[in-house]
Structures are given as C-alpha cells and as structure tokens.
Amino acid sequence: MEFIKNGKRIDDRLPNELRPVKFDVGVLKRADGSCYVEHGGNKVIAAVYGPRAVHPRHLQEANRAIIRYRYNMASFSVEERKRPGPDRRSIEISKVSREAIDPMIIKEFYPRSTIDIFVEILQADAGTRSAGINAASVALADAGVPMRGLISSCAVGKVDDTVVLDLVKEEDNYGQADMPIAMDVRTGEVTLLQMDGHLTLEEFEQALELGKTGCASIAEMQREALIQKYRGEENE
C-alpha cells in the first residue's frame, strides 16, 4: 500500500496536517459539563460529573478528589459490531487517559469526592483516545472544575518512512508506527505518551516535535470552543 503520493496522504492531507476537527461544548443537559468532538471520522462525546460523593466509600481520599475516567466504545462505532462493555483495550485506554488528565485537575479543592469523566466513542476512525482526551478536557472546563491547564492530544505516526501527524484508520492499521501524545502545550508538560511500531531515534525526536505542533493546534481549537460557549451564554 502506498501512503504518500506527490507529497499528499490518502485523504489528501499534508504529512503535518490535522484532520478537520470540531468542538461542541455543553451538548448534554444532565452532565455537569460536556463536549462533543468530531475529529475526522471520529465522533466522540465526553461528560463530566462532579465533584460528587464517592461510592463505595472506601475509595475516598481524605485530602483530595479522586478522578475516574471511563473510555467506552458504542457497539456500532466500529466496522464489526463490538460487544458492549469494557474490554482489555478500553481498560488500558481509560487508565492512560485518566493519568493524562489527572495532573491538570486541582484535586485538593474537593476532599472525599470524585470527579467522573465518561467518554463515549460513537464512531471510531483512529485516534479515539486522543479525541476522547480532548473532549474530556473541554468538558472538565465546561463543568467548572478548577484546572491548571488544558490537555491536548493527538497521534503521530510513520507511513512510507515519513513521520506524519494524525493517522487515519488505514495509516494506523498498515503503517509503520503510531504514537499518541498528550500535553499541556503552554508548559510543554507531556502527560501521555505511548508508541508502537518502528522508529529510529531521529524519527522519534521528529515525531515528538510534530506531535507538539498538533497538540498546539488542538489547544487553540479547545480554547476557541470554550470562548464561543461563554460568549454564547453572555448573549443569552
């Protein structure tokens, strides 16, 4: 399979170009905060509940909130129907996503409580964990949870020996490497990093830099979406 032709990728993007991304803030009534994200073919919705009481109680922490994060795929989000409920992949993604978001939340403000983050993947097309983290980060802000910063995430990868930004499904399945990253772009703090495939050290450094610019673009859109939301509210 040839992934890059005349400098363009299979969906006509440049190697360093993100797919179209759209954020919609406050899309759910019941949740304390929510955000819908379309990122290429990905359709993802995040909701935040909390701070609220922790059940069962032995999970409580005396001097800070606990953070829970549940990444879940709808049965119809992928080509072959997925059996409902958590599988090993979604349990791992929930863990690393939680750890990616956790350091931004000022947990000390809410002892003995929980902040629950729920991410539903409605349609999947490579990069769902990043899209979920991006949505969750905005949903936390929408819920008014005090944060040190926003977390922005994207994947970098390698196809046809070229480091590229934001893989689509085919690039992910048949490419040479995939590396999701999440960071607070203002401070440069990386909170999620995973990689698999084959990268030389030079490619890896290049990929990190490319990921940084991708995250920066995402961060810009996240901020814009939140501003729109609050502008909208003021005008109401």
């Binding site: 609220r52 549940r70 709808a74 080509e79 991410v119 539903e120």
Partner: protein, 261 residues
Amino acid sequence: MNDVIAEIRKDYIYALAKRSERADGRAFDEFRPIQIEAGLIDKAEGSARVKIGDSQVLVGVKLQPGEPFADAPETGVIITNVELVPLASPSFEPGPPNENAIELARVVDRGVRESGAIDLSQLTLPDGKVWLIFIDVHVLDHDGNLIDAAALGALAALLNAKTPSERYGYGPDAALPIKEYPIAVTAVDLDGEKMLDPSLDEETIASSRITVISGLHGTLAGMQKSGTGTLSIEEIVRVVKLASSKAMQIRDDFFGGFTNG
C-alpha cells in the same frame, strides 16, 4: 432510578397536576419537541439520533450474516441491546445492564419483533445463513421517557439501514423490508392524572407508567406497565386509546412518506 427529587418539587408537580398543569407548561397529552436525525454513524448499517425534549438517544443498527435459530431456519434474527451509560445520567452506573436497561431493551425489542415491523422471512441468504440485526440503543442524555425515544430511534435506524450485501458478496445492498411502523407512547399516573411523554421529574415521582406500542391503523402491538402503582381497567382502556391516537400523529409527522407506500 436513584434520583432524589426534593419533596417540595414533588408536591409542586402534584399540585400542578390537580390543576391540570405540568411544570413545563405542556398539556397532559402533549409531547415535548421531537427531533429525529438519521444516518449520523457511517460505520453502522443504519443509525438515528432521537431527541424528545432534552432526552437523547443514539441508535445504531448493525447487520451481519449469521446462523438462524435452529427452530426458525428461514428467519432473520433481531438482537436488541440498551446501554444506560453513566454519561447520560448521574443515576446510571457502569456495569452490565441492570433490570431497567434490560426491561427497556426487551420492550423495544418486542415492539419491533411482535409488531412484525421487519419481514424477517426476507432476510435469508443463499448460503443458509440469515441476516442478524443488532439494534443497539446508546442513551446519551436521560431527561425522562427513554422508552419512547428508544423505540422511535430503533424504527428510524431500521428505516435508515441498508444490508451490507456487497461487503459479504451477496449482491447489491438493499433497504430492510419494513412492513409495520410501531410507535411507543408512554404515560405516567400522577394521582389519577395520566400524562404522556413524562419528563424526568414526572417519571421519578409517578407510581406507575404504562407504555403502549401501536402500529398502522391503531393496532396494538405491545404494552408494558411498570412501577408499583395500580391502574383500574377503565384507566387502562382510556390510556391505551389516547396513546394509540397519539402514536398515529407521531407516525404521520415523521414517517408519513413511508407509510403511504
């Protein structure tokens, strides 16, 4: 439902009901605004998002070739599942479907199956397999009356679906053979008053709920009472008539084009 609604709110809603009013100003037989948007999920063979007021469900239909049941070898198979994901309500918890999710799924399933909405005899495949139809209801926002939203979403997603025949080498893709348009209409009982399309508050404080599923020409196709309240036979007959005529109106509004065929 674990929602705790303040005593005062409950008294308020009951007091309103006595004066034939509802908190959101609707008439007793009035639905909140309904929106149906079909085809949002390309990865599914059919899909529809339904909003009734602030309640929101996304239904995906997946089709795959599979084995028929041994006692019905010439018949397609329907599998309906409802996920009450914790994103949709503070009262939903992660884990396998509880009795509410299971009841919801089974009422929607029977509405589709027993009404004969799909001509399952047309879903055989040349190699002895049949189409398995997975109807997955993903609840996104729970503000009351999920059952009517889910049933509406299931019907709209089925109408939106195409068999993925080409992918499996069975010739051209085709729409599903839809023969009936079952519409669920739910009422709750508040101190004897019956209200259609209950809001979350109404649903939470009501002692009983009855869902009536009816088809073209008003035929009754399904019914489910739930809750620990009781109803007299006269009350039941009255609600069933009301629900069936409301269902005709919803069917006309949203599926008028189809049902003329």
